[in-house]
Point group: D2
């Protein structure tokens, strides 16, 4: 049973059906398809942002890198967390697309406002010599499974705005965050001062479709040129549109994220009752980080669980604490969770 | 009836079925899926190249730009035709990915060996001052619908090799060329001196999947890093793999291209019998360029045909010659061709 | 006797004196030196442009590449002559700094207005697919020694402005052109529609100092950041300023160019009387291109003349026409010219 | 009296004389001058490295950025100190030239071996997703005025070599470090495992000339292309060569640095006896960082001293500790030091 990544999961039947339907007949290429018009409209409605520019790309890294490059200049620096995906997991793509560098704020997954202010103030103190201040990027939910509250987002964007810096939200797990906060998409974004969102679809049920939403459409054309120049404009774009349309229609995206978060919360509850399991941070959505003794991992793996650990479990003593990540995606049934917990409860019993 | 672009066409049922099958259960991400292993093996078999490095990306521009950037250095120049896709239709993507510039060889879609030699010799005559010689890139079938014969490919690669330059083939319509030449994939590529191929799938029946094949795997790891850094590595990679697998299995790709070329040849034959229609170049596959008087285009559009013209047809005199492009994709039925020709025959009759 | 390049020449005593004077005491770094204030003011006065932003860099390639990158976006194309220095002799520096590509207009050193319009119109006809229209760059005097007249410059800039494109002048030999046209610096630039000038100093008597002048200072700060990021901001900037100051004061720059052009015109006159010498184009300043039979070159070289030929002179028959370039720099005495001509007149006599 | 920066200082008479001498007659351009041959030979002799590739550029940022870009790939990360010049003071130039990112090691100016190992190990743990390991760069003397001992350099290069990473030394103040360590240039570089050096001349008496030395000449040609493409190859290169030649001949560079270090050590000694002055780190060469109460700075400025403070001295209470930097360049006389110290001793007396 795999809890390694939401990237390992399939897509729901509605998406398959939408693809089948979209496959009938001919459609203009490069985003001129009729489905994209609907996606744009629906996204604007959901975000209560009738002027927003809405685009689709196929990878989260493309969404982030293209969005950020549109927000900044190559002599600037992007403020982000040291564990942010854009810093750790995109092989210099944000730097490649933007030319800018990244300034790592604090040492946590959630950016602390005081540290953000300090980091921003530390730049542009050397005239033309240091990098200039660029956009702030936060990840919602964070790479460690935490969720910024609306007031936390507001505090960060208020600081950015003081320095006239735009704010980007890496929403690879946007839906899971929204469900966790139980607020509207507008509230979690532009109403809280966010300028551009990478609106993740892939991890929550699509094959490889991400939205990029600019609440101010001023830079829309620049984004289109950047997307094409980076080879991220699809000729048969309708197959991206159709998936995103199915995702947005009838609140499927919310339904999928609710299912994932619900299953995750059962998993969390269950783990909380196993003595040897400690949470690295308090999980708020479908990403769970725990510390457990090495022997528990070994037993769990033996029983067929699959997930990532942050360090080796072989060749260490039984009680060595080892961090692991469990990801609960939309496709997990509640009986999967039960089985997972049973295995873990048994694994906790060292003697067995 | 749309003859505008093979990018407007749907995908065949086999591809839909393959997606449905691939959607069952969980699969490792980022190219570690089981389908990719099969794709790699099948591609190596088809190309009789057991050591070839095989990768998938989602757009033709990505395939070309990543392949070329792996073959060259940013102080070099890439030799290509002035109507090549990499020069005209990729919004500086090859330059963005590689840093190199493009040297336009001659003035035709097919690169002429004499002009290629002249272009190559003209560089590196100025030491460090001019750009250095880089890869040669040819498009098969060309952007004007012509096909390089095996001996033509050999002549070009022989010249490149004299100067120790690698050769890339933009095979956005690779299958159509192969069917046209009636040779093997190996013969059209490495046996004729090609080093790297962009193996098009999208225009011939996939949703957005292209192969990149390095016959010498030496730069495979560099390609993987470049792909990731350019945000073209898919997390749910299995959906690319599954499509390509269906495309390769049972020679579906050959079947689709044969169908397209066959329908195109009927269209060509029919057009040849219409007095007012002149072929811009002799078409060899499924791309057809003709010159017709403006009034014919106007009448054809009135009757519901859709295709691109190279200049305005409104506001010009009836007899103004206007170039147009007809693309016949795999999904065209023979009765579509009949209808197209009937409309054109009627359109030719000026008086009506 | 060397007529190979104006880059081989020394600098006049006034520049040496200025360096010596500037070497007294301490001066703020990075362009804050007192000499730079004077340079800025003097340049604004000379160009009758009190708001112009004025900067110094040390190489012509830096001046051109930084200026052009400030004028364009990486998805654009720069319109220039196929023999322009930015295309042929800067090892992809303009592409490196700007990300843009170059579109070669026509086949001459002087851009023809009709061909320019055609080239501009040919871009942006493919939406996001092709490169977007970017700046026009002309070289004054051209790489072949011709000079754009004021009305020619005006015609080019008028076309550019129709398409809202800025115009850059590569003035590596700005002074020689100005002397040739006998007009004001303002007339040859902003009064004729030029937006930015690379104001060459190096070829006309400095050690390595070039001005970059933006008549509209709007992008001044961007230029400063680009200059620093490209490592072209000098810490001990005073040594650039002092040279440029000496160059501008008392019209030294005009005096030097007048001397060079005068000597060149004597050379041209003398060559015109040698039967076997043909001018490639009619020279207007201090760059002279001629065709002569190979044996003449061989004899001239034997007698100690040094200059570049465009093809090999060894191993070809005596009468093979071979193109050569003679550059007459500011330091050439009239007796040098006499000696040069005497050698050539003798060389022309085949039998000797 | 200015102690703000060694970039404010003049150049010694020997350099002026060398320029005057170099100004006689004509010389081939772009590094083919006769002086450069001597520079290359002398540098190879000084470094006991007969095969070393030796180049000149005009700014320290160019030396660093070109050297580092030659050592790495754009998907790598460069390991450096968080206060390194390449990170803080080059406006993203290293990123621009190399495409790579920077990983900040520890929190000190001197890289700690344990932290270096940890930083290196933390990369390449995520396959293609994170940046790949690239070169290590250390600054000698550091930006805070410390000097790596030979054994410290050896320890760092040994770790780098374990991971097959090259090591670059930013030697903007190379001579000051060498004098401080009293060792040979070879010992401080390749004998201690350094691969490439930015050999600073500007801060120690040149107008703007820096060497770049590759002990292994394998990448020499790549460096030459990178230098040209970055617009850092000088046409009238002899004026760089002549300066560097004067600098190297008769050990002038050592003499100048000895003078600077000697004067600095007197300054340090004097400051040590002023009660209110605390050293931020123990100074080892000609860069001195101290903490003093705000009122002392105010009084020193009133008396005409000039230097940088790290925070505002106006609007803070008298006793607020404020960090400042004193730079002692080669041109400082011992009587300047006496005057400086007298002012400081008086400034220390709060009541006055």
């Amino acid at each position: 049973m795999i809890f390694s990544s939401d990237n390992y999961s399939p897509v729901p039947q509605q998406v398959m059906d939408a693809l089948a339907e979209a496959n009938n007949g001919y459609q203009p290429s490069y985003g001129e398809d009729s489905q994209m018009k609907k996606v744009r409209h629906l996204m604007q409605t959901i975000f209560e942002a009738p002027d927003a520019a809405v685009y689709l790309v196929a990878t989260g890294t493309a969404a982030n890198s293209l969005a950020l490059s549109t927000l900044c200049e190559p002599w600037q620096t992007i403020f982000c967390s040291p564990v942010s995906h854009i810093h750790e997991d995109e092989c210099n793509a944000p730097e490649f697309f933007s030319g800018a560098k990244l300034t790592l704020v604090g040492d946590s997954d959630k950016i602390n406002p005081t540290e953000l202010r300090k980091s921003i103030q530390a730049e542009e103190s050397r005239g033309v010599h240091g990098p200039q201040r660029g956009p702030v990027s936060i990840t919602q939910i964070t790479e460690k499974g935490q969720v910024y509250t609306l007031s936390e987002i507001n505090e960060i964007t208020r600081i950015a705005r003081e320095f006239k810096l735009p704010v980007h939200m890496d929403g690879a797990r946007f839906a899971n965050a929204l469900v966790s906060l139980d607020c509207t998409a507008a509230e979690m974004t532009w109403k809280s001062g966010i300028d551009v969102v990478s609106f993740g679809g892939t991890k929550n049920g699509l094959m490889g479709v991400e939205g990029v939403i600019f609440f101010d459409p001023e830079k829309a054309w620049e984004f289109e040129l950047r997307r094409k120049r980076a080879a991220h404009l699809f000729s048969k774009h309708r197959y991206l549109s159709a998936q995103m349309l199915a995702y947005l229609e009838n609140d499927l995206w919310i339904e999928l994220a609710s299912k994932a978060n619900k299953a995750a919360s059962l998993l969390i509850e269950g783990l909380r009752n196993i003595e040897k399991v400690d949470f690295l941070v308090e999980p708020k959505a479908n990403l769970i980080f725990v510390t457990m003794p090495a022997y528990m991992h070994r037993k769990a793996f033996e029983k067929g669980l699959e997930y990532y650990t942050w360090s080796e479990i072989e060749g260490v003593s039984d009680d060595t604490p080892v961090v692991s990540r469990f990801v609960v995606d939309w496709s997990r049934s509640l009986s999967d969770i039960d089985k997972f917990l049973e295995i873990m409860r048994n694994a906790a019993k060292k003697e067995i």
